[in-house]
Every structure is written in structure tokens, then in C-alpha cells.
């Protein structure tokens, strides 16, 4: 027993085992999120959602996965097959990789990089590539439109995404996510979402845009270009794209929680659970994911030019202005920084 635990300290084995655990978590999270999405949407729409498979419908993801495994993976005749099949992989891998740097609890992070925020930003940019590969590889007019819209949207919303992080970086004084979580104290009013409220809102909205959810789901555009870049996918390839979408939604929520809502810190000091603080992390991430779903089922979607206007003309100036405000306040009150 002791030798097994000693083995876990050895570096490559620790990384592999914890990465395997995180991958297991991500895949299960994607499946559970499909279920959560359907139940939340059902309850908002005055119905129950799936409630036949298993008690209260909790085994529905298992039924879904089983069905998708047994479905045929159709690909269009003229499609560029390597690009077509590589696109779901290119969409899923970034969503899974970012979990390596997310701190779940004190001393529970797979890879404690000191440039974790840069890592996060770089890896999420690869998602745009996956969208373009999917749309281009399908060789159909609808998917081409969806891919171009997706590329334009994801690239333009990365700018406010990154700019809104910079306030947090200035306040914490470090690019490491572990330091950012520790720098936010363990009381709810010292977390960064209050002093950085415009940045929090910008990061949240840009996060929704990066994940391509309503109101920014024009690349998928269900009512006009039915499925957009993923219109030609079926079976397991489609399931992988959906898993990528839900996994990236979970990743965005967890990074939002880490940067602005205190990560694994409890809201009040006496609620500290020690090494079990991942419970607080889980609760906060679930709350943010619930708000993603709540917004999805309440508002219509934006049109492309309105989406671009929002990104470039509203969010970018807001973040730039607040960046200067933060810098100015840090000069005036030197105790603000770390």
C-alpha cells in the first residue's frame, strides 16, 4: 500500500494517472451535462425532461451514448475525409487539455504551471481551428457558412476574453492559476468579481461566445443553417462534437470560477473544508453552468453583424477602460496588489 502511494509521487506516473482521471472526469461531465441541459430546459419549458430511463431519468446519458455508438458515421461523398474526421478531435482536445491547469482544491492541480493563464488562452484558440476544419471538410454550402461564421466569431471574441483576464493578472501579480485562487481571500467580498465587475461580465459573455451557445450560436444556427458546421456529422463523430461543446462549456465555467469567484475558496472562512474544498469548486462551477443554460433557454440569438458589434464596439472598449481604472486604483492604493 505504501509503495503504491510512493509510486504516485513519481513524476511521470503522477501526471499520467491524474491526466487519466481528469479525462475520465471530462467525458463523464460531458455526458452528465447533456442530461442536465435537457432537464433544465424541460423544467423551464413546463415539462419534465427525460424521466423514463432509470430513476428520474438519470441513466439517460448512458442510453444516449449507447445509441450514438451504434449509429452509422455518415460522411458526405465529396468531403475531404481526413479533415472531416479530424475536426471533432481538434474540437475535443483543447477542451480536455485546459483541465490540466485548473486547481480543484488546495494542492490538487494536475500541472501547476506558472504560466497557466497563457496556457489556457493559447489552447482555447485552437477550438476555432476545429470549427473551420469541420465546415471546410464537409464541402456543403450550409457548413461553409457555419464555419466562416464560427471562425469570425471565435477569433473576434478572443480579444475581449484575453483583455478581461488582464485585470485579474494585475491584481494577483502572477499568471499562475493557483496563485490567483490563493490571492482571492476566503470571503465572498474579496473575490475578484466585485472589484472587476465589468471584466467579470465581459469574460462571462465572451465565454458564452467562445462556446457557441445561444445567444451566440449563429455558427450552429439551428433555424436557418440547420447545424451549421456540424450539419454533416452523425453518430459518434457528432457525439464527439457535442461532447467537445459541453466540455468546453464546463471548462469556461471552471476558469470563470477560478479567476473571478475564488476557485476552491469557501464564501466565508468558517466554511473551509480543507482538502475537500473541491466541493465548493464544484458548487460554484455548477452554478455558472446553470446560468449558461438558463440564458440559453430564455433569449433569442444575435445576428452576425450584431454579434460583431457587441464584441468589438462594446466589450473591447469596456475592458480597455476598466484596465486603466484598475491600474490607476492600484497606483493610488498600493495595498490592492499582491
Amino acid at each position: 500500500m505504501q509503495t503504491v502511494l510512493n509510486l504516485l509521487e513519481v513524476e511521470p506516473i503522477r501526471l499520467l494517472i491524474s491526466f487519466g482521471a481528469v479525462l475520465f472526469l471530462v467525458l463523464n461531465l460531458a455526458a452528465i451535462l447533456t442530461m442536465a441541459e435537457r432537464k433544465v430546459s424541460g423544467y423551464i419549458q413546463l415539462r419534465y425532461g427525460p424521466n423514463r430511463v432509470g430513476p428520474r431519468g438519470l441513466l439517460q446519458p448512458a442510453a444516449d451514448v449507447f445509441k450514438l455508438f451504434t449509429k452509422e458515421n455518415v460522411s458526405p461523398g465529396r468531403s475531404d475525409l481526413w479533415v472531416f474526421l479530424g475536426a471533432p478531435i481538434a474540437m475535443f482536445i483543447p477542451a480536455a487539455l485546459v483541465w490540466l491547469v485548473v486547481p480543484f482544491a488546495p494542492d490538487a492541480v494536475v500541472a501547476d504551471l506558472n504560466v497557466a493563464i497563457l496556457f489556457f488562452v493559447a489552447i482555447t484558440s485552437i477550438g476555432a481551428l476545429g470549427v473551420v476544419m469541420a465546415g471546410y471538410g464537409s464541402r456543403s454550402a450550409f457548413s461553409l457558412l457555419g464555419a466562416l461564421r464560427g471562425a469570425a466569431q471565435m477569433i473576434s471574441y478572443e480579444v475581449p476574453l484575453i483583455l478581461s483576464l488582464l485585470g485579474v493578472v494585475m491584481l494577483a501579480g502572477s499568471l499562475s492559476l493557483v496563485d490567483v485562487v490563493r490571492a482571492q481571500g476566503d470571503t465572498i467580498w474579496t473575490w475578484y468579481f466585485l472589484p472587476q465587475l465589468p471584466m467579470f461580465i465581459t469574460f462571462y459573455v465572451s465565454g458564452i461566445a467562445e462556446v457557441k451557445r445561444v445567444p451566440f450560436d449563429l455558427p450552429e444556427g439551428e433555424s436557418e443553417i440547420v447545424g451549421g458546421f456540424m450539419i454533416e456529422y452523425s453518430g459518434m463523430t457528432w457525439a464527439l462534437i457535442q461532447a467537445a461543446e459541453f466540455a468546453s462549456m464546463a471548462v469556461m465555467s471552471s476558469i470563470t470560477v477560478t479567476l473571478f469567484l475564488g476557485g476552491w475558496q469557501p464564501p466565508l472562512p468558517f466554511l473551509d473544508l480543507g482538502p475537500f474544498n473541491w466541493v465548493w469548486f464544484g458548487i460554484k462551477t455548477a452554478l455558472i453552468m446553470f446560468t449558461f443554460q438558463w440564458i440559453r433557454w430564455s433569449v433569442p440569438r444575435l445576428r452576425m453583424d450584431q454579434l460583431m458589434d457587441l464584441g468589438w464596439k462594446v466589450l473591447v472598449p469596456l475592458t480597455l477602460v476598466w484596465l486603466f481604472v484598475t491600474a490607476g486604483l492600484m497606483l493610488l492604493f498600493p495595498s490592492l496588489g499582491a
Binding site: S41, I44, Q45, L46, R47, A141, F142, L145, V214, P215, D217, L218, G221, E222, S223, E224, I225, V226, W297, S298, V299, P300, R301, L302, R303, M304, D305, Q306, D309
Partner: protein, 395 residues
Amino acid sequence: MLGEERRAGHEGALTEPPSSRLVSPDIRDEFGLETIDMNMGPQHPAMHGLLRLILELDGETVVRCDPVMGYLHRCQEKIAENRMYPAVIPMTDRLDYFANMHNEHGYCLAVEDLLDVEIPPRAEYIRVLMCELMRLASHIPSIGFLMLELGAFTPILYAFRERERIQSIFEAVTGARMMFHYIRIGGVKADLPPDIPQKIWDYVESLEAHFKRDFVDLIEDNEIFISRTRNVGKMTQEQAVEMGVTGPALRCTGVDFDIRLDYPYSVYPELQFEVITDTAGDVEASYRVRIGECLQSIQIIKQCLEQMPEGEVLGDTGRRIRPAEGEGFGRIESPRGEFAVHVVSDGSDTPYRVHYRDPSFCNMQLLQEIVPGHYLPDIMPIMGLIDPVSGGWDK
């Protein structure tokens, strides 16, 4: 006029007219730009039925939009030539399947124009009551479909909750939830069951109570809805009248034309209601006109329930309906516009010719005129303005 005070100061997202976004073909050739020919085909989840749109796109701007209809054509007008007059009524149910009562009413008015049967007053009131309930059951899902195509998935479920409740009232009165076969030549088939007037009254009161919360608060002030629908599909009055548009699509441009008041039929002269118009002529205006018409329908239903006289419900048409030679014409205000039926009789048991003037068919001309210059995602709100039903345009 609705909406004028709301628009002051908030132009919305489209400040320049859509057609100015169209690049002229010479400039396109000079720069070597091409357009994409795309097909929003008959298989589409949001096409209001089976409509094929042949689009020519310049990037995201629509240059040309040609609707191709006929995927649901069932030869109703031809089949009606082989059916006896009362047996055509179940077929008219299936024309515009969101407004069945109106179709039956229009056909029966046309045939009663050929005969000289006297319709009892109670039957007239019941007909108007059923038609106004049907108008509610049609306008509320229309709003839901508009929101569904804009991307909001919940208002349609709230809308169908209302439609289900109205359909259960219809089931108690007529026996079926959708294809009623209730309005007959000379009256209606059977009287209302004794507990139905109270049920209708209770339902209408409860609808009035939560109508604002579910269909107005959720949608009207939503900034995304306003940006997607204000100044989109903008029509002038001249354009609308020239294309023969009727119904809420016409009234949202400001033309005050409603068959119930201009060519009155049945007991509408005895009921008090207003015609809702809006000046803007865009999709948001049509949404507002439909909301206003729902509220007016609720008032009409209440008045019908209060004023309904006692009596029988089916006039005496004789054993066989065999009108003399001639033509009969009946026109009514269906939720989509003017629905008119022209029946030509040659003295036998079956009509010589039945022609339906369906509002969905005539309003579809708007697509070819209005859409060029808009973006591709704008086609769906414009379909929400026209609100066609595929059984209507294809017959």
C-alpha cells in the same frame, strides 16, 4: 397607433435600409466576386412547412430569393368537384390547418350565398365564438414560431400550452382537436354542451391574467428581440397594397383593412372591437399587431358569451343540398388575412368548381420583394411576419 412612443430614440441595429447593402452586379464583376446559389430546401426544421427557397447569396446578404411552392399540393380544388357539398367541409378543414374553423366558415358562407337558407342567430354567435377562439389558437403559436426561428426555444412551449387548452375546449364542443368538421351549411352541427360557456369564460379570464407575463414580458423588451426585428422586413403601405397582402402583415404597415369591419359578415356588426394597426411595417410591428389582436379576440369572445341568444343551431336546408346554377362567394378574416371561397354550381349535387383564395399563398409574394438586401438570418423573422401555413399556400 401602436408603438410610436416606444420607437422614439431607439433606432435599433439596422439604421441604413437593407437594400443599400446590395452590391451592384457590375462592381461584383469588376472585383471578381461571385455569389453562392443556395437552397433552403423543403426539408428544413423552420420553414413553416414545405417551402423551398432558392437563394442567391453574396456573403451573408441575400441578392435573390425565389420561393418554390407545391410540395404539399393535394389537389383539393379538383377533388372538391367530385364531392357533394357537405362532404367538402372536412377537406376545407385541411387547408390552413392552423385556422380550421375559418376555412369551414368561409366555405359555408360561399355555399349559403348560393342557397337561400336562413341561419339561426344562435348558430351565428357560435360560429363567431369558435372563429375567435381559433384566432387565439392561431396567433399565439405564430408568436411562438417567430421566437423559435429567432432562436429562443421557450415561448413556443408556452404558446402550445395555450393552444392545448383551447383544443380541449374544441374537443368538448366538436369532438376533435384539430379537424373539426363543425360549421355546417346552414349553421353548426350541434349546440354547445351545457358546461362549455362557463369553461370558455374561465379559460379566457385566466388567459388574460397571465398573457402579459408569458408573451409580452418575455419578448417585448428583450434587446436581442428588438435588434433582430426592428426595421427588418420594412414595408411601405403602397408596397403592401400593391402585392395584395392582407391580414396582420397589411395592418402592421398602417392600412386599416379588416374584413370583419369593411365587408361585415355574420354577427360582427353587433360586436364592439377595434382594428389594431401599427405604422412601422416591420417584424416587430407585426408581432405587436398580433398581440393586440389576441387581446381584441378575448373581448369578442366575452361579448359573444354574454350576448348569445337561445334557439336552434342548424337552419333547414332541405334533404339534399342542390343549389341552383350560379356562383357564390364568401370572404372572411382568417388569422392570416383574407380567406375567400368562390363556388360555382351547375345545379347538381357536386360543385362545378371551388376556388380558395388563401392568404398564405398571396402573402408569399412578399418574400420575393422584401427579402433581397437583408441578411440570411433575417429571412426567418420575415417569414414570421408573413406567417404562412403550408397547407394554405399549397392547398
